[in-house]
């Protein structure tokens, strides 16, 4: 408890003597972090003196003495390390945030236009209802399912605005915990790092299904189906709607059909995380195909959406949770319960991002402009993939097949590099990436493809 004694002395030097004596009597050194709860009354100085002066002299030891340092986030930690690096050649392929060819962050033109419109209108700042901006909820569901989709027309979708993908996933997790106590969520191996945190904090048990096959650097489809089949009936299966993070490996349409078959067979519920609609193929409708396939089969599904990547609204935290139910009545009830979960988390969601999305998607000319900008962003990533592949094929004389780079979809590529090789990438080549071998192509320029190819070839062949 040395720290407590130090802070006592600094708080009131003139009274430190009496405080010190109290301290010696009352504290049990060394027991602090072990049995903090039970021995609270012994750990803190119990001054029974009636005068205010001696009371002022004493500072309680902190309640949070036992709080340990949380480990750095594996993804955000990469950016922090990158910032600290002073080498000129450094390359940040960590976080999945889109960068231009000049490796600058990018604010979409449609977003600027929408924001200007909003400033001109001078809208008020009233609380949104708990479920969020109605205009946003309408357009986000239509974007996902298609405005003419029966699930929309029949009002069977409960849509609630959420704080981007994370917030929407958390609402869904809380719903699962409350209404399906004990039900498990099956998540892909690997998956986005924060999925596990979300389910852990929501107290929803989870287990993994096989997904990535390191031998083929492709999908372990048989393993995936087997693990989904083996799970207890009525499990939730977390699927990435498009552009799987971190691998970039998506099932084919035929494989999606088979996945839907197994899920129906086992009475599981499909739970989609759609963070890259439009970004994967460049087509908003194309990227929603998997979700629409399941909805078309009449299946009840959950879908979390995010506008962080496809509208560049990372910092505004805009997304939604959609629950497709078998009836409009069920959807209304589910929506009311989602609201009840949101209220004690943040009361009501932030409006700015919701307004931007509603304005962009709701205005035909802005919407078309957005589609064009999205195609441009997705196109840049495709070009970068091609260039990287070309350099890798040219530089790697071993005959290794690097075509998985071209087959993978979206911002990320799973290089197949192991932890040690990844460390070599960072330590020798100043290429910052996550330890699982994932690189964010959104952070790569055509100009740096050759350098990266050299780094990858070196790490792959010269380091084990």
């Amino acid at each position: 408890m040395a720290s407590a004694m130090l802070s006592l002395a600094s708080a009131c030097p003139s009274a430190s003597l009496s405080a010190h004596e109290n301290l010696k009597v009352k504290l049990k050194p060394g027991s602090a972090s072990l049995s903090f709860n039970k021995e609270k009354s012994n750990l803190f100085i119990n001054t029974k003196s009636s005068g205010r002066i001696s009371m002022v002299a004493v500072v309680n030891a902190s309640r949070f003495e036992g709080v340990t340092m949380a480990p750095p986030d594996p993804i955000l930690g990469v950016s922090e390390a990158f910032k600290a690096d002073t080498h000129e050649s450094k390359l940040n392929l960590g976080v999945g945030a889109y960068r231009t060819e000049e490796l600058q962050p990018y604010v979409l033109n449609v977003v600027k236009k929408a924001e200007n419109l909003m400033v001109e209108r001078g809208e008020n700042k009233e609380y949104l209802p708990i479920e969020g901006l109605a205009a946003f909820n309408k357009v986000t569901a239509e974007l996902l399912f298609g405005a003419d989709n029966p699930v929309i027309k029949q009002q069977r979708v409960a849509t609630v605005q959420g704080l981007s993908g994370t917030g929407s996933l958390r609402l869904a997790a809380a719903l699962i915990e409350r209404y399906f106590p004990g039900a498990k969520v099956l998540i892909s191996s690997p998956t986005w790092g924060n999925h596990k945190n979300i389910f852990n904090d929501a107290r929803v048990p989870w287990s993994e299904y096989r997904y990535y096959d390191p031998k083929t650097v492709g999908l372990d489809f048989e393993g995936m189906l087997a693990d989904i089949k083996a799970a207890p009936e009525g499990s939730f299966v977390l699927l990435h709607g498009c552009a799987h993070n971190p691998t970039g490996i998506d099932p084919t349409p035929e494989q999606w059909e088979k996945i839907a078959d197994v899920i129906q067979e086992k009475n599981h519920i499909a739970f989609f995380d759609v963070a890259y609609q439009g970004f994967a193929s460049g087509s908003l409708d194309g990227d929603a195909a998997s979700v629409r396939l399941f909805a078309a089969r009449g299946m009840e599904i959950l879908v979390a959406q995010s506008y962080s990547k496809n509208l560049g609204l990372y910092a505004e935290r805009i997304g939604a949770i959609n629950v497709v139910c078998s009836s409009a009545d069920a959807a209304a009830r589910v929506k009311s319960q989602l609201k009840r979960l949101a209220r004690p988390m943040y009361s009501n969601p932030p409006i700015h991002g919701a307004r931007i999305v509603a304005n962009v998607v709701g205005d035909p000319s802005l919407f078309n402009e957005w589609k064009a900008e999205m195609e441009m962003m997705a196109g840049r990533i495709k070009n970068v993939r091609q260039k990287l592949y070309d350099y890798l094929s040219a530089k790697d004389k071993s005959g290794k097949d690097w075509s998985f780079i071209l087959k993978q979809i979206g911002m990320f590529s799973f290089t197949g590099l192991n932890k040690t090789q990844t460390e070599n990438m960072t330590n020798k080549w100043r290429v910052y990436m996550t330890k699982d071998g994932r690189i964010s192509l959104a952070g790569l320029s055509l100009a740096k493809c050759e350098y990266l190819a050299d780094a990858i070839v070196d790490s792959f062949h010269n380091v084990s």
């Binding site: 709860n37 119990n46 309680n60 200007n116 209404y179 560049g312 910092a315 319960q337 009840r340 009361s347």
Partner: protein
């Protein structure tokens, strides 16, 4: 057909075609009761009577009943619309906001601020700040209850319940005197087990509007020393209670003087009229810098699983207002105007009597 197996509902039938499915997964989900506060607004919006008045939610309105945007906020909006803000700057702006918020609550020159012992995280307004603390409390003091004043803002009950922290009440409002039941409050403070977590409204108690006097706060603080209780302050009305930002934080300053290590939730919703942007701050005063860093890392982790990062727009607005001396001066003036306008509407600082159903409350 539903069966409750092994602690959960599951369907006993095998796959059904879409057309034959009569029951879905969500059959057992009942409609949630209306939120006692926002439900009033929902009912108001649905009402077609031209004479309707909404006295439910505590959101400041002008004389025509229209929501008000402060001029300092409009100035800040114009400023930030001109510059391109990018997600890469978010962390820096967030830290700046925390610094400014903490100074506002603890005092610009407070020694605990200079010693960097106050850790903080931007939060989704007051609700979000309280929720972060509730989760922290559960994580590091599992099983410890939170003592809430009776009555308190209805959402306090929801927040600690959803964070799975048990709740206890302490006596606060005396309906007969329509004032503070100070003797009962002190009794409850003394009778609670040593080291209990208490929540206080440092000014403008919601829903009663009844606050302890300075003397009473000092006595509470003293008793807290004796009992080693943890004081958590939910400050949602700094500036609009008395018109003076420091005066409204007086309770906090008293506890700081007495050496308590406190927690504090702040909201910029009411005093900056930023309802829809969800800007707030949770701060925890720690024994030393090392501990402050550790607690912050835990708070970040809790936030990461809930929403990753807070929305930047509101943070930018608040930061712009607090950092620019001219805009900040304008804000300090406008806050007084809100306060005077609210006082002129009513002769008494609050309305909370058997006249009104519990669901319809005016906060002042």
């Amino acid at each position: 057909m539903w069966r409750f197996m092994g602690g959960r509902f599951s369907r006993s039938t095998r796959c059904m075609s879409s057309s034959s499915r009569a029951f879905g997964w969500w059959e057992h989900v009942s409609p949630a009761p209306k939120d006692p506060i926002t439900g009033v607004t929902e009912a108001f919006l649905a009402d077609t009577n031209p004479n309707k008045i909404n006295l439910g939610v505590g959101a400041y309105r002008d004389d025509e009943g229209k929501p008000v945007v402060l001029q300092c906020v409009r100035n800040a909006e114009a400023k930030i619309a001109a510059c391109e803000f990018l997600e890469s700057n978010a962390a820096a702006v967030g830290s700046k906001l925390v610094e400014e918020s903490v100074k506002l609550a603890y005092g610009t020159h407070a020694h605990v601020v200079k010693e960097r012992r106050v850790t903080g995280l931007q939060a989704l307004s007051g609700t979000g700040a309280c929720r972060l603390f509730a989760e922290l409390q559960r994580r590091f003091y599992p099983g410890s209850p939170i003592y809430l004043p009776n009555p308190t803002w209805s959402n306090h009950h929801n927040i600690w319940r959803d964070a799975q922290v048990p709740e206890r009440g302490f006596r606060y409002y005396n309906p007969i005197t329509k004032g503070l039941d100070f003797a009962a409050l002190m009794d409850d403070v003394k009778n609670a087990p040593d080291g209990s977590f208490f929540l206080f409204h440092p000014c403008a108690h919601n829903p009663t509007g009844v606050d302890p006097t300075e003397e009473q706060w000092r006595e509470i603080s003293y008793q807290f020393k004796v009992k080693n209780h943890f004081p958590f302050f939910d400050m949602a009305y700094q500036g609009v209670a008395s018109g003076d930002l420091d005066m409204d934080a007086q309770a906090i300053r008293i506890f700081l003087e007495d050496g308590h290590l406190i927690g504090c939730a702040q909201s910029f919703t009411k005093n900056m009229g930023l309802y829809e942007h969800r800007v707030g701050c949770l701060s925890v005063l720690c024994a030393d810098v090392k501990q402050a860093v550790a607690v912050k890392s835990q708070l970040q982790q809790i936030a990461r699983s809930m929403y990753s990062n807070p929305p930047v727009h509101g943070i930018l607005l608040v930061s712009t207002i607090l950092n620019d001396p001219q805009t900040k001066a304008l804000w300090v003036k406008e806050v007084k105007v809100i306060m005077f306008t609210l006082i002129s509407f009513l002769h008494v600082p609050f309305l909370f009597s058997s006249f009104w159903s519990r669901e319809i409350l005016i906060f002042l």
